[in-house]
């Protein structure tokens, strides 16, 4: 029997095509050191000093009430929007579709801040940073850190930037976990929270995928117990981990649409065990390009931080976790996301409403799976823009 796969209609973007670009952007860093700057982590360990890499777009207004903090996901970094202006075929920041003049996070109106989170490998102190005690990369000597710790560090960055209160915190996936933690940890600082394609805790299935990814890294001999030089990464293991990740970020429909069962050379079977199908080639490409820009130990720690995030366990009940929150929430999920399924977003919505909070929720039609939050072609931008305008109005009245 033929199976008919119906592709959900993707709604066209309503906004006119963007012509104005951000001015060339650059990543900046700040180091928190000296007495009183030691970071006390949830694991009980401490870290000092801590460097944070960040980018900002737009201007902080005189009232200092137009700041929007963008939280990135697992493999993201501080470079969220615009171009460095270095190379001709350079890629823009990871959320360039959302951030810029005239875009939903309109840099003509908002002061947008994006930082590489604690434990990242793109400028913020993490497992690949040099341990001042040994002069070598931390590796597995790096302390375990959690989403709550990441938020503590972002809080310090805001203080350094002179931002007393955020108009909104926004992020998808692991970024969305940070958004939830922000609203819980610093309710007085958050006027609006936008957790996208996220959850209050990972499903055992998602933890299982993380574990397979970690095992892929740790079983690579080049990993060497976490002790490797940064130019000799456990490439096979890290590449494999990313391939596993990518399967979970796409959906069945998206794979069918992108690759079908097409062969690489168009000829068909070559009776070999190397890449034969286009989907295989795609995964290999994702794996190898990831190896060039990411650190294996960092991947181990970050996936663990995601696994450990569990608001229900931390606060007794999910609604108890949110009982101190004051801000309106905009929760968004994607219909084809099976890694952070819409059901988990609905649980969030339920818990937030139970404590009487102002909650908006939209399950956005998309066949692109978990990755949809990074991609154009659906209503997420309009929805976010509408919510930010509402927050601005509420802040003014």
């Amino acid at each position: 029997m033929t199976q008919i796969v119906k592709r959900p209609e993707t709604l066209p973007e309503i906004r006119p095509p963007e012509v104005r670009r951000l001015e060339p952007v650059r990543t900046q860093t700040v180091t928190f050191e000296g007495p009183g700057e030691t970071l006390h982590l949830e694991s009980g360990q401490t870290l000092h000093p801590v460097t944070v890499a960040y980018e900002t777009y737009g201007q902080l207004n005189d009232a200092r009430d137009n700041a929007v903090l963008v939280c990135h996901a697992l493999s993201g970094d501080a470079h969220a929007a615009g171009y460095y202006g270095l190379e001709k075929d350079e890629k823009p920041g990871w959320w360039d579709v959302l951030i810029g003049p005239g875009k939903p996070l309109d840099t003509d109106k908002y002061f947008v801040i994006s930082s590489n989170f604690l434990g990242g490998c793109k400028g913020t102190t993490g497992p690949s940073s040099i341990n001042p005690a040994t002069g070598k990369p931390y590796g597995l000597d790096f302390p375990f850190y959690t989403v709550k710790d990441m938020v503590q560090v972002q809080r310090r960055l805001l203080k350094y930037l002179g931002v007393p209160r955020l108009l909104a915190v926004i992020g998808g996936s692991l970024g969305g976990m940070q958004v939830l933690q922000w609203a819980i940890s610093f309710p007085e600082m958050v006027r609006g929270a936008i957790p996208i394609a996220t959850t209050a805790r990972l499903s055992p299935q998602a933890i299982a995928f993380n574990e397979v990814a970690r095992q892929a890294i740790m079983s690579d001999p080049d990993w060497n117990g976490g002790d490797y030089s940064l130019d000799a990464q456990p490439e096979r293991g890290l590449g494999l981990a990313r391939m596993i990740g990518h399967i979970t970020y796409l959906s069945e429909q998206a794979m069918l649409r992108k690759f079908s069962r097409r062969y690489i050379n168009g000829q068909g079977r070559t009776f070999c065990l190397t890449k034969d199908f286009q989907v295989e080639s795609y995964l290999h490409h994702q794996g190898s390009s990831f190896v060039r820009r990411f650190d294996a130990n960092t991947y181990l720690y970050i996936t663990r931080a995601m696994d450990y995030f569990d608001l229900e366990a931390a606060y007794g009940r999910l609604s108890t976790a949110f009982s101190g929150c004051r801000c309106p929430f905009l929760v968004a999920s994607f219909t084809s996301d099976w890694l952070f399924p819409p059901e988990q977003s609905r649980e969030l919505v339920q818990a937030l409403r139970r404590v009487g909070l102002d909650v908006s929720y939209c399950n956005i039609e998309s066949d692109q799976g978990h990755d949809a939050f990074l991609l154009p072609g659906h209503r997420m931008g309009d929805v976010v823009a509408g919510f930010l305008e509402r927050l601005t109005r509420m802040a003014a009245s």
Binding site: A385, G386, E389
Partner: protein, 217 residues
């Protein structure tokens, strides 16, 4: 289990737009200034926007159709995408001053349960629906032998979102039976330009649309 229910994607809501907007002014007049309003089945948010502009209400909406929800949110409204009945279970008693059920009651599987829940979470519940014993409908059935398709029931039997039928008398009987306090009743017809015209006498026969304002006893 829900296979028999009408999925929202199958309904062309633009066809019922004149009817759905006909009672907006009346609903606004029954809403106090600055009230907390919950609009169940709020569509693309037209009514909530008017309520915000005219009454400065604190608005919340519930809608199942994803496109309509996205439109509401891009217009800056606070709306969740959810099933109407399920959406009420998370809410505290008396959480809202006004709960609106504008032309949606007859499209739900358990209208009585929905009304009861609406009266639990809201102090005042505004319910509107097409009156099935309106004389034009009666004569269409009697003389033509066909189910009515007109500005207040703009769908064919096979594509209507309404899975229930109700009349003014039926609804009054229900209120009496449940001892619900009827704060106000309002009945209208639509003229040729789809403008509402108030009906004062024999509404069960002469009104195409009914609006009831219920209050908790």
């Amino acid at each position: 289990m829900n296979a028999h229910r009408v999925t929202p994607q199958q309904v062309d809501w633009s066809r019922s737009r004149p009817r759905d907007r006909a009672l907006d002014r009346s609903i606004i007049s029954l809403t106090p200034q600055g009230a907390r309003v919950l609009d169940l089945g709020c569509g693309n948010g037209d009514l909530l926007l008017r309520l915000k502009a005219d009454r400065e209400v604190e608005e919340r909406g519930v809608e199942l159709e994803p496109g309509a929800v996205a439109e509401c949110l891009s217009r800056g409204l606070s709306v969740i995408q959810a099933d109407l009945e399920e959406s009420l279970t998370d809410l505290r008693e008396g959480a809202f001053d006004v709960v609106v059920l504008n032309q949606v009651l007859l499209a739900t599987a358990r209208p009585l349960h929905l009304l009861t829940e609406a009266l639990r979470v809201g102090r005042r519940v505004l319910v509107s629906f097409p009156n099935f014993t309106y004389w034009r409908i009666r004569s269409q059935i009697v003389f033509k032998g066909r189910l009515p398709v007109n500005p207040t029931l703009p769908y064919q039997w096979y594509d209507t979102p309404n899975i229930r039928l109700a009349t003014v008398k039926d609804f009054r009987a229900l209120c009496q039976d449940k001892r619900w306090k009827v704060h106000k009743e309002l009945f209208v017809n639509l003229d040729r330009q789809d403008h509402p015209r108030t009906v004062r006498f024999w509404p069960n026969m002469r009104a195409a649309l009914a609006l009831f304002a219920l209050e908790r006893g």
